[in-house]
Amino acid sequence: MNLPYQIDPGYIGLGFVLLFLLLILTFTAILRDKGRRSLGEAGLRKIPAFKKLWRTMNYSVESGKRLHLTLGRAGIGGEHSTSSLVGLSILKSVAQFVSMGDKSPITTSGEGTLMILSQDTTRSAYSSSGVAEKFDQADGQLSGLTPFSYASGTLPIIYDQQTSGTIMVGHFGSEAALIADASENTDCMTLAGSDDLSAQAILVATANEPLIGEELYAAGAYMQIGLTHTASVRAQDVIRWILVIVILVGAALKLTGVF
C-alpha cells in the first residue's frame, strides 16, 4: 500500500490492540452495570453446539458417565496458545459443574505445559466446589507428544472410559479426525473446534457439533464464564465492523486510484 505519507505499521498495530482493549473494558463496565441478566446467551445468536454441551453436561451428571475433554497439542507459550486457553476455560466450567456428580471429567492433551494447566484447572475447580479430595492427577493426562501419537493415544481413552461426550477444543491438525471419529463411533456427543482451518474443515464433517472459526473463541461467553468473556465477544463484533469498513473504504480508494 503506498500511502502518501508513511505511518509506521507498528503504531497502527499498537493503536489497534489498544482500541480492542478499550472496547473490552468499556463493555465490561456496561455489562457490570446491567447485571447478570446480560450474561450468558442473552443477546447472543444461538450456537447449537453450546446448547448440546450444556445438555451433555447435565446428562453426564445424571448418568454418572465421564466427560472427556481433549485440549489439543499447542503449548501455552506458543502462538497457538489462545485456542488452548479457550479449552482450559471450558474445562474449568465443566469441572465445576460436574463436580457435583460422582465422576470427574478426564482431560487429555498433547503438550506438557497444557497437561499441567489442565490438572491445575481441574484441581482448583474442585476446591472451589469444596470437593478437593475428588481430584486425581490421572484425570489430566498426556496421551502423546507428536500430533499423530497424541491423537492415537487419545483413542483408547475414548473407547475404554465409556464417556458421555468428547469436547475437543484447542489446536489440532488433520489428525483430529481420528479423535472425532472414535468419539462418534461410541455414540458420544462430539463438540469440536480448532484454530487450524484444515482441521476445522474436517471437523465440520466428522464431529456432530463443530465450532467454526471464531465460534470457538466465544465459548467463554456461551459457557457463562464471566463478564469479560461476554464483553470481549461484544468488542469482537465492533472490531468486525470496523474491519469491514476499513477494507471497503481501502478497496474503493484503491479502485479509484487515490493511492
Binding site: I12, R45, K46, S81, N185, S198, D237
Partner: protein
Amino acid sequence: MSIANLTPIDLVGALVGIFFTLSIFSYALGDNALFRLAIHIFIGVASGYIVVVTWFNVIWPKLILPVLEWENTTNDNLIVLVPLLLSLLLLTKLVPRLTTLGSPVMAFLVGIGVATAIGGAVIGTLFPQVIASINLFDFPTWDQNAGLFWILVIESSFILLGTLTALIYFHFGAHSHNDEPPQRTGWIELIARIGKFFIAITFGALFAGVLMAALTAFVERWNFILTTFLSVF
C-alpha cells in the same frame, strides 16, 4: 524396490513395516488388540525419540554446556543460569506439593504465549491479509484492456464479498423478542447466509486437500505392501 539388493536387515525392516501397516489398517474393523499394540509402540517410539532430540538439541547445548563453559566465557553475568533455574522450577509442577513454585514460570510462559499470539495475529495475519484484500483492486491494466479489466474487477469483488460476508457470518450480537431465542437483525442474517456459502466452499476445498493427502498415504502404503510381497514371493 527389488529383493536382490535387500540386506537381511532391510528385509526384516520391510516385514516389520508391513506388519504395522496391516495392524493399523485393522482399525477399519473396529478397535482391536493389534491396533492397540501398534499405537502403543508408536507412542513409545515417538516419545523416545523426543528424549533424544531434546537432549542433543536443547538440554546439552543450551542448559548444561553454557554452565560448564561459564568460566571460559567472557560473559561474566549470571544470566546463563536463569534458563536452568526456570527449567527446574517448571519441573516442580510435576510434584503436587511443590506445584506453587512453578507457577511464576507458567505465568511467564502464558505471557509469552498470548503476546506471540496477539502480535502474530495482528502483524502476521491481520495486516497482510487486510492489505491483500485492498490490493485486490490494484490493477496494472487500468486503461489497457477494458474487457479483462472488468473480469478482474468482478473476480476481485467476488473474493472481497467472500471475505467480508464470511467475517460477518460470525457476528454474535442478537436480539430476542418475546422470549424467542435471540436472532440477529434481518439484514445481518442475510449477509451471514452468503458468508456461510463461502465458508462451505472453503471447507469443501480444504477437506478435499486433506482427503487427497490421506489418499496419497493410502496409495503409497498399498504400493509398499504389494511391491514387497511381489518381490519376496
